[in-house]
Every structure is written in structure tokens, then in C-alpha cells.
């Protein structure tokens, strides 16, 4: 089951790659001669109220949350790993300060934090990803610190020390890689799910999310709903895709957790 956890991410990567490589231009795709058509060979999921291909927009819409999710994950890892390790490995003023900092940050609801960032710096993929990443740091960092704290006292860690394995190798390999990779993977899946919900909701609401004509599953849904699209797939496809992916990410993350692997 653990290996299946990567499946949603692999599929996403594939969809993202196809969307980017297709050269599909959402601006040029407007075709008033083909408004609201049902599925056909030319348009597998039909067209939307502006005659645009729902299937292609669905694929291209992946990049709207995939890219911020990658940024968020990278940033969360980059910040949470050292600080988590530091807090987990040592005691003293610095880890205490870091821990307090994360507690303070965690007291701000994640959504509010992201909205504040978007209001201040705009809502492009980088800002959205960075804000989501930073908002994920406290939980991830805390989890790593706790995990390392638990593992440090385990016999096999003490044994590696007794065998003269260097402190850095113990930390990087034995503690972080062997001990925390499951936890990190699970946290990253949750970050992906968070960014998916975040981006889709913001784009649905309009204002901070991805703005038309660039597709996002959220703005596709909003467009189809508000225009009363006669092609039911214009509405169902983004809704089902969002729901399906979200369930997969959560299921994969839970499966990881149930194995007890972090």
C-alpha cells in the first residue's frame, strides 16, 4: 500500500506534463460555433459555455495547483527539515525559540495566512506555493522534531553512535531518511491536498485564485455553474477531478500512516 501512495503524485505529474506539452492555448480555444457541446470524438468531455475544450482545460488546469504544490512542498521541506532536526537533536535556547516561533505561526489559521500573503504579494503560483509551504512548516517541523526526539533514545541509534558512525550520518541517514521518510511523505501528500483545496476554492470564489482564461479546476467549475452550462461534463469533470484527487491524496496519506511508517 505504501508504494501506492506515490501513484496520485505520479498521475498528477503525468497529467501536468501532458497539459504543458500539448501546447494547448486556452485563449485561442474560444469557439462560439461550438458552445456547450456534449462529449464527442473531437471534444472528449465536450465544450464549455465559450466553446472551449473541457478535457484540455482539465489537463492544463492541473498546473494551476501542481506548480504551487511543488513549490510549497519544496519550501516546507527546506525549512522544516533543518529546524525540525535541530529541535529534535538538541536542547537549549535556540530550539526553544524555533519551537515558539512555529507555535506562533501555527496559531494563525493556514487559510488566513495564505490569503494575507496573496493580498500583499499577488496570487500567482509562487506566492500561493510559498505561502502554503510556510504555513505547512510548523506541523512538519514539529512532527520531525518529535520523531527524532523519540528515535534518538532508541537502541539502534545508540548502537550506531557506539559503532562510531558520525553524528551527521546518523542524523541524515538513520534518523531523517530511515526514521522520518514516511512522515515526510505523508506530510507532503497532505500539503498537496491542502494546496489543491486552497487553489480550487480561491479560483472558484474568484479574486485571489487563478483568473480566466487560464484554467483551474475551481474556475472551470465556477464558470460552468454560473453560466448554467448545458454540457454537464463542464461541471462534473472539474468537480469529480477535484473530489477524486483529494480522496486519493488523503487515502494515500492515511495508508502510509496506518502502516505505522512514520
Amino acid at each position: 500500500m505504501k508504494r501506492w501512495g506515490a501513484l496520485p503524485l505520479a498521475l498528477l505529474l503525468l497529467a501536468w506534463g501532458i497539459g504543458r506539452a500539448s501546447g494547448y492555448d486556452p485563449v485561442a480555444d474560444v469557439d462560439v460555433g461550438q458552445l456547450d457541446l456534449g462529449p464527442s470524438a473531437g471534444h472528449l468531455l465536450g465544450t464549455d459555455p465559450l466553446g472551449r475544450d473541457v478535457g484540455m482545460r482539465l489537463l492544463l488546469g492541473v498546473s494551476a495547483f501542481f506548480e504551487p504544490a511543488v513549490i510549497a512542498s519544496a519550501l516546507a521541506l527546506a525549512l522544516a527539515l533543518p529546524f525540525g532536526a535541530l529541535s529534535g537533536m538538541s536542547r537549549g535556547l535556540l530550539p526553544l525559540l524555533v519551537s515558539q516561533l512555529w507555535t506562533a505561526l501555527a496559531s494563525i489559521p493556514r487559510l488566513v495566512l495564505v490569503l494575507l500573503a496573496c493580498a500583499a504579494y499577488g496570487s500567482d503560483a509562487t506566492v500561493l506555493g510559498a505561502a502554503a509551504g510556510v504555513s505547512s512548516v510548523p506541523a512538519l517541523s514539529q512532527a520531525i522534531a518529535t520523531r527524532i526526539g523519540q528515535l534518538r533514545a532508541r537502541d539502534y541509534i545508540l548502537a550506531t553512535r557506539a559503532h562510531g558512525v558520525s553524528r551527521s550520518r546518523t542524523l541524515l541517514y538513520h534518523l531523517l531518511w530511515l526514521g522520518c521518510r514516511g512522515l515526510i511523505g505523508r506530510q507532503l501528500l497532505e500539503t498537496f491536498a491542502f494546496v489543491l483545496v486552497l487553489e480550487t476554492s480561491l479560483s472558484y470564489l474568484g479574486g485571489f485564485g487563478v483568473a480566466e482564461p487560464r484554467p483551474s479546476w475551481g474556475n472551470m467549475l465556477a464558470f460552468a455553474v454560473s453560466r448554467g452550462s448545458e454540457n454537464r461534463w463542464a461541471l462534473l469533470a472539474p468537480a469529480l477531478a477535484t473530489w477524486g484527487l483529494l480522496i486519493s491524496l488523503i487515502a494515500a496519506s492515511s495508508a502510509w500512516k496506518e502502516r505505522g511508517d512514520g
Partner: protein, 508 residues
């Protein structure tokens, strides 16, 4: 402001629940796409504001049901022999919602504040013909006109404000009045709610004694839900019905439709003070690249227009040829303007031809039009960015600072279809910065003449001139209807202000 949440059905259920629980026996609830940002008639710029002001405020005169001028706050008037002065006696029983009497000082204050440049009233043009207003006594005010006026009462419809609620002689948008307005109309403001909705209650002191106890204006930004809310009896009225909802609402026995034609037309305005839109060739080229029927197709049926009037207007010049897309001619014009086509884009001096189209977020169907337009222009080698502005940004970027390339919007006119403010070089709504001595002359002539045929011909010439010089690409006019529950009785809708005779309406 947007009130959509996922999933969409929750919105409907939630909204119905909220609105339903708030409904009182004699409450009239109507939906607007966007709630007014502030309530102050001196800064009215949208139809939704004009409608709220009609309920809360009064002018010196108003329309009766047969659209003849009748006194509102005025009781009687006398015009001087040379028709340059008018002495107006106010109704002694008129009271502000806070109980204070309406006085001549209020009238003089309102006119002075509207004229005061530091007020920057959007309604300044409506008092430009008044030179001064002098208080004679508490209930008598004397107006002096710039030039003789035949029937000045026809122009004294603007709303009067209570002077005692302001300090100084000017009014600011930011004055506290904006959320705690005090008027003298048939309804008074009860609450300006956090969600932008406005609760109003009957003004028992008003001479018309309205039958409806309370009015609520609700912002329902998603028009798709407005019709459903009406059908499920969570609203009593929709001000404008989407074309796609017309059939459903007409077939519903609990709903009645009312024509609400406000002589409206859509346009794309070019910012003439910015390069390259100051070049008539570039404007014409862009105009020729646009396929208007294709822009219209996704949003409904409408009549294309070739100038600043709707086709049924007496001022519409039917001799102006209809708009036709001609991309070859457009390319030729761009070449004449110094552009060269390199690859898929037009460039001049190494700079690509690109522009930004701005539209108001709450303008219904604007999104479809703008995306479609972006697609059309991009296919012709013009780079296009789009932006949808909220009310605050729209006011500052378009109305005040005029920071835009192209603007997509819609103007609605009362039955006089006066485009002076939009097209005269001194016009307060001339966003495009259009200046034409001939058009100015014709508009002045149309304003001053006593001969209707001369006015008609002058404005038909304005139509032709504006079409030729293209400060705007004129798009279309859409028929519009409002819908009301059959529970609302005695309804007669004013063709522009909608609520003028709401004091006669009653709920069953």
C-alpha cells in the same frame, strides 16, 4: 464581494435559509448583482445605487406615473419673467428621517456641494445649469440659472441631502454619511449590513405612506442563483433577469415580468490619452478586428449598435453602416500606423502591440465577452491582458485616474438619452478623453435648441461622427426585464429609477 462557497448547492440552500429566516410578513427583498459601496446620491455612478437612492431620498420634483413632472419636496414654484430665476417653496411637512424639517438651506447646500469641485460629485453635470442657489427663508429657495430655462422643474430631479449632517460646504465620499445616510424618502435606512446588504424600513412620516413595511436590498453576485431565489420565494424581486432565465420565470405562475428598458448599450472604450490608442488608425484597426456577433453569441440575443444610442432611439442614425469585421483592412491600417507583423505579433519600434482590457467584476457576462475578445485580438496578433476590477479599483482606475487601455462597460440612460456627459470634452463621464470641437458644438446645440427636429438631426450627426472617430467600439443593446413575485401588488415600474412609485406597491 463574492459569496460563493463549495459546493454550489450549499450556497443556494444556505442563502435560501438565511433569506427565508430573515423574511418578515411585509418585507420586500430584492436582489442586486452588486450592493452599492456607499449610499450617497452625490457619488452615484451605477444603476443599483440610483435604485437605492430612489427609496431613501427625494428630489424637488419627480415623475408621476404618466412620466409628467410633479412636485416632490417642492410645494410650488414661480419662474421669473426672463426665465433665469426660479423661486421654489418647499413642502412644510417634509421631514428628514431624523425628524429635522427639510429646509431651503438643504437645497442650497446640496446644489453648492454638487458644484463644488472639491466634492468631485459624479452628478456635477446635473447642476451645471444652475448658477447659484440662495436661501430666501426656511422654506423658500431661489435658483438662478446660467441661461434662460423653459421648464427648469424637469431638471430638478436630483436628490437633496440634509445639510445638518455635513460640516462645511463640500461633501466627501468618505463622510460617515455613506453608511448612515439620512434622507427624506419613503423608506429610511435601518442597517447597512456587513455583507453589503441594506435594510430599509418604511418612513411613517412620509406623505405617501408606503404600504410595504420594509425593504431589503441583497447582493447576490451570482445571477444564476437570483432566479432560483425568486422561484423559491426567498426574494420578492430581481431587478434584471438573465436572458436564459426569462422563459422559466415567465412560465412560473408565481412570478411576473416587467419590462425595464433603460436604453442601455455596451461599449469598448479606448483611452485616447494613451499611445497607441491616440492614433485613430490603431483604434480603427482594433475595431475592425472585433467580431461583434461572436462576442454576443455566448451571452444572449441583442441588437448591435453603431453609435451611442439604441436602435429604437430617435437619435439613432440608421444611415451609419453596420459594423463589419475586416481583418485585411485592419492589417493595412496597422501598417499605415507604423506597425510590422513579425511572426504572430504586431510590433512598432521593437515593442509589441499589446493592451489590457478592464471590466467591472459585477458586470454580468463581462467575463465571457472579455475572454472572447482576448481570443479574437490575440488571433490577429495583438497581445491582450485582462483585468476584472472590484468597485473600489474601478472607481479609482476608471472614474478618477483613468488608468486603463480599453474598458468594457455598459451605459444606461433615462428616456432623454443624453450622451453629453460621455462624449462632450467637458463631460464628467468622458473616460476615453474624447475631444471633438464639432461634437461639442452639436451637443451644445442639442442642449440649447427649442426645435426637436434640430436636436434630432444634431444628435444623429453626433452618432455618425463618433462612429467615424471611434473613441469607442459600440457593441450592442440587450432587452431587459425585471421579475417580481405575484405577491407584490399594484406594481408599476419606473423605466429608469425602478422604485419611483414603490410607495404604491403592497405585499399580499
Amino acid at each position: 464581494m463574492t459569496h460563493r462557497i463549495l459546493p454550489s448547492s450549499l450556497v443556494l440552500a444556505g442563502a435560501m435559509l438565511t433569506l427565508g429566516t430573515l423574511a418578515r410578513a411585509s418585507e420586500f427583498r430584492y436582489a442586486e448583482d452588486q450592493a452599492p459601496g456607499i449610499v450617497n446620491p452625490l457619488f452615484a455612478s451605477t444603476m443599483s445605487e440610483a435604485r437605492v437612492h430612489e427609496l431613501l431620498f427625494e428630489g424637488l420634483y419627480t415623475d408621476d406615473k404618466d412620466l409628467a413632472t410633479k412636485p416632490a419636496l417642492a410645494a410650488s414654484s414661480q419662474l421669473s419673467e426672463d426665465r433665469t430665476e426660479m423661486t421654489i417653496r418647499l413642502r412644510p411637512d417634509a421631514r428628514w428621517h431624523d425628524g429635522q424639517p427639510v429646509t431651503a438651506g438643504d437645497v442650497a447646500f446640496t446644489i453648492q456641494a454638487m458644484k463644488d469641485p472639491s466634492t468631485a460629485s459624479t452628478e456635477q453635470g446635473r447642476v451645471a445649469w444652475i448658477e447659484s442657489a440662495t436661501v430666501v427663508d426656511d422654506l423658500t429657495v431661489r435658483l438662478r440659472f446660467v441661461r434662460p430655462e423653459a421648464r427648469p422643474e424637469d431638471k430638478l430631479f436630483f436628490k437633496i441631502l440634509p445639510a445638518h449632517k455635513f460640516s462645511g460646504s463640500s461633501v466627501k465620499r468618505t463622510d460617515g454619511f455613506r453608511t448612515r445616510p439620512v434622507g427624506s424618502g419613503p423608506f429610511r435606512l435601518d442597517r447597512y449590513n456587513d455583507d453589503g446588504s441594506i435594510s430599509m424600513v418604511r418612513n411613517p412620516e412620509h406623505s405617501s405612506a408606503p404600504a410595504i413595511e420594509s425593504m431589503t436590498m441583497r447582493e447576490v453576485s451570482d445571477k444564476g442563483y437570483q432566479a432560483k431565489l425568486l422561484i423559491y420565494e426567498s426574494l420578492e424581486a430581481l431587478v434584471r433577469v438573465l436572458p436564459r432565465d426569462l422563459a422559466t420565470l415567465q412560465a412560473n405562475r408565481k412570478v411576473e415580468l416587467y419590462p425595464y428598458q433603460t436604453n442601455s448599450w455596451w461599449y469598448l472604450g479606448y483611452n485616447l490619452s494613451r499611445a497607441p490608442f491616440d492614433d485613430p488608425k490603431v483604434r480603427e484597426a482594433l475595431d475592425l478586428m472585433v467580431d461583434i456577433p461572436s462576442l454576443l453569441a455566448p451571452i444572449g440575443t441583442g441588437d448591435p449598435v453603431t453609435g451611442p444610442y439604441v436602435p429604437s432611439s430617435p437619435f439613432y442614425n440608421h444611415e451609419v453602416p453596420g459594423h463589419a469585421r475586416d481583418t485585411d483592412r485592419a492589417a493595412q491600417l496597422l501598417e499605415e500606423a507604423g506597425y510590422t507583423r513579425s511572426g504572430s505579433t504586431w510590433t512598432k519600434g521593437g515593442k509589441p502591440l499589446s493592451l489590457k482590457i478592464s471590466a467591472h467584476k459585477s458586470l454580468e457576462s463581462a467575463q465571457e465577452v472579455v475572454i472572447n475578445l482576448q481570443s479574437q485580438l490575440q488571433a490577429q496578433g495583438v497581445g491582450v491582458q485582462v483585468e476584472f476590477l472590484d468597485e473600489v479599483s474601478w472607481r479609482s482606475s476608471i472614474w478618477r485616474e483613468r488608468k486603463f487601455d480599453l474598458v468594457l462597460s455598459q451605459w444606461s440612460f433615462d428616456r432623454n438619452e443624453d450622451v453629453r456627459e460621455q462624449l462632450h470634452s467637458q463631460g464628467s463621464r468622458n473616460f476615453t478623453g474624447y475631444k471633438s470641437a464639432e461634437v461639442d458644438r452639436l451637443l451644445d446645440l442639442a442642449r440649447d435648441t427649442l426645435d426637436p427636429q434640430e436636436k434630432k438631426q444634431a444628435l444623429r450627426s453626433v452618432h455618425a461622427l463618433v462612429n467615424a472617430e471611434r473613441p469607442m467600439t459600440f457593441l450592442w443593446t440587450l432587452d431587459s426585464y425585471s421579475a417580481m413575485s405575484t405577491q407584490v401588488r399594484n406594481v408599476v415600474v419606473h423605466p429608469f429609477y425602478f422604485f419611483t412609485w414603490a410607495d404604491d406597491w403592497a405585499l399580499q
